[in-house]
Structures are given as structure tokens and as C-alpha cells.
Amino acid sequence: MTASAFVEIEDVGFRRDRRVIYDGLNATVPRGKITAIVGPSGTGKTTLLRLIGGQLKPESGDVRVDGVSVQSLKRAELFQLRKRMGMLFQSGALFAELSVFENVAFPLRVHTDLDDELIRLIVLMKLEAVGLRGAVDLVPSELSGGMQRRVALARAIALDPEMIMYDEPFAGQDPIGLGVLLSLVKQLNQALGLTSLVVSHDLQETLSIADHVIMIANNRVAFEGSPAVMQSSNDPLVQQFLHGSPDGPVRFHFPAPALEDALS
């Protein structure tokens, strides 16, 4: 393991049914940095987060988190490792029957022996950071999708993990919420020395805070490096993605027989 790498993905192969998602994927997530994972829809960005979190197992290759091979861990060891990670799900994934307060307090209650007063202080601080302290007594169904994701972010950082994985954190945010979240991700990373992985389609916003970019396309890593190098890359695949061109090496159409054959 290189000294600066927190996550190492080595020659990973993965399929969903018969569809190949990765074929020899190699990437490194540097420790203490913000890494953006970008790429066209359906290329397996969320799948990569789930492989790192051990929710999926690769068919081949190795995924190592802080030097530990995730797929070789036993179930109990995997749950121990996950205490060092936080994950913000695309849907928020809040517990529907719990209030906003109890959702954020949940990791603290199950993993610490802190008394109720201290838990209350921590929860209120985390909610203040995402601007939702006033929603403390609401239940998830009373919140908008964007607000639910902000509560989920507060829950993800409740235990001050070493690494946070954000799956589309900016989706559904108004410009103010988006700006606040961008600066929050950046601040969390700098203040707590976290390793952050951000999967997002909001390319320019994400690149503005990222230190490292992994672009996935056509079943493998199409680019890995700094945002500045990415912006100046002459690779047609990178250029197509950055400029949103429909024609180029990245297929817009899902693989299918020729249209003439399908219509005849």
C-alpha cells in the first residue's frame, strides 16, 4: 500500500447478471483528500462506493481500505470497518419511523455510551452544520428530498468517521443549499482530515472542491488525476464528458442491435 492511499482498487472485475460493469478497474483514493468519482450514467459509480463499503463483492481483483482487503473480512469484521466510514446515500435512506433528531442520534446511540445530554448537543451541532436544526422534531416524510439528504449527511458525520462517501449529495439542492453543501464537504475534509469520495453529476461544482478525480467509462478508469490535469486533457473521452458532447468514445445509447434491424 502506498503511504498516501486510503483506498486501493486493484484490477477489479464486476458484473451484474451478464452485464460487465468493471473489467480490470484500477484506482487509488488518496488519504485526507476529496476524490470526485465522475462518469456517464450507468458506468458503476455508486457500485464502486458499494464495493469499497463491502456491500458488494468483486468477481476478481482486490479492494483495500486502509490496507485491509474488504472482501476477505468476516461479517463482524466488516461491520467494525464500517464504523470508520460514513455514507450518504442517493435517496438519503433515513429511517422512516424515526424523527430527524433520532436519525442523527442513531449511530451515536448504537456505537457509543454517551449520555443523552451529550448526544443531544452533538446532534444539534451536526444539524446546525447542515442548516436543519429547526427541523429536529420533524419526521423524514415531512422533509423535501434535498432536506432529507442534508439530514442524512448530518447522520453520516455523527461519528466523525475517517472516510465519507457521498452518493449524489448535490442532487435536488437549490443553489443556496448546493453552495452550503459544497463548502461543508470542503470544511469537513480540511477540519477533520477526512478522506472524502464524492459521486456527482454536478461536474463543475464537484471539480471545484476536488483534489483528485477518478473518471469511469467503458468498464474501466478513463482518467485519474487532478482536476486541473483533467480540464487540460486532450483525451477525446475526457473532453466529450467535460463538454457534454453526444458523439465520441463514450456511448450515449445503451448497447442494442442496429435501429434498422429492430424496426424491420
Binding site: F79, R82, M85, M87, Q90, S91, A93, L94, A96
Partner: protein
Amino acid sequence: MIDWIAGVGRSTLSQVSDLGRASLMLMQAIFGRSNVGVYARLTVDQIYAVGVLSLSIIIVSGLFIGMVLGLQGYTILTDYGSEQALGQMVALSLTRELGPVVTALLFAGRAGSALTAEIGLMKATEQLASLEMIGVDPLRRVVAPRFWAGVISLPILSLIFVSVGCLGGALVGVSWLGVDSGSFWANMQASVDFFDDVFNGMIKSVVFAIVVTWIAVYQGYDLVPTSEGIARATTKTVVYASLAVLGLDFFLTAVMFGEI
């Protein structure tokens, strides 16, 4: 022909694979370390959800089935001048068969489908995945309390069903049709054996409870996380659990009361 054989093979492999996954899920859910206090509190919460909230349907069904037994039994026994044996007939029918079986079928429809839908919705909305990433095993936190709640609740519901059924039988037989109260209750008391009838009935209930709740939690945990997937899994729970209860009932009856 080859296609048909291949189809049968695929289906068999799929069923065996399902059974293996369901067994592994259950083992991982019920064996392992956990905070006993939290585990007990979650189980009590679920006993309320699957047991206490099923009380009304169990009591009403037990009452009517007991009343029907009283009415049918009286009509038949009167032909032989044996209406004083009505208490015995009602009690044995309920303790040996109708109590455990009908309660399990009602439980599968009321609580089993609810368990499947609840766990399935938690899966579809990524709440189970979220628990995993928080470092909490959803099998221990979500599945195990619901499984134990079902296993504890169903035999108790079955006892309540039998008791209310006996009262229903007495209501029709004694209060409305005029069977002597002393004969009704004395015959019942004399003919129902605790071990042969009540205890065997309870064993049936425990077996049905394990099977019905296992099917319900597995169908919820293993479903395809879409609205159609939840609907299909809920239907499967009721169908599979009902068939399993009826099939197992024959097997258990043959072992307990037959000559096998």
C-alpha cells in the same frame, strides 16, 4: 423435451438456492453477539406490532369458529342423542387442529404480509443498506427481533383463539341450544388431555410460528427492491406460508395422533 428437463433442473436449483439463502439468513440473524437489552426492547416492540395488533382478528375469528363448531356439532350429535359430548368435540377440534392451523393462516395474512412489506420497503428505500454502512447488522437489528416476535406471539395467539373458540361453542351450545352446562364443561374437562391435546397443539403452533415468520422475513429481505417486487413478495409470503402450514399440519397430525 430437453428444454423441459432443463427447465425443471433450473427451477430445482433455484428452489435449493433459495432454501440455502433463507437458512443462512436465519442463522446469521439469530446467532451472534448483540446487546441483550436493546435486542429485548426491539423484540418487545415487534411483539406489540405482530402479536398485540393481531389480537382483534384472532379473537373475532376464534369466537365465530367456536360458534360454528357448536352449531354444527349440536346438529350432528343430536341425531345420536349425544349432545352432551358437544364440549368435548368443540375443545378437541380447536386444541388439536383448528386453533393452531387457523391462527397460523390468519397470522400469515395479517402479520406475515406486514412483516414482508415492512422489511421490503426498508430495503427498497435503502434503509437496510444504510444500517449496514452505519455498522449495524440489519439481520440482527431488523430481522431477528421480528422473527422472535413471531415465534413468541403465534403460540400465545393460538391459545387465545382456542379459549375464545371454546367460549363461542358454549355460547351457542349451552346458552342458545340448551345443552346442559355441567355436561358441556365436564365432558370437555374429562376428555381433553394436557399432553396429548394441548401440548401437541402448542408444538404445532410453535412449528407454524417458526415457518410462517421465517418465510415472511426472508421474502422481505430477499425481494427485488421495487414496488412490484414488494407486491410479489407479500403475495408469496401468504401463499407459501399457508401451503407450508397446511402441509406441515398433515405431517404433524400423522406423527402426533396417527399410526405413523
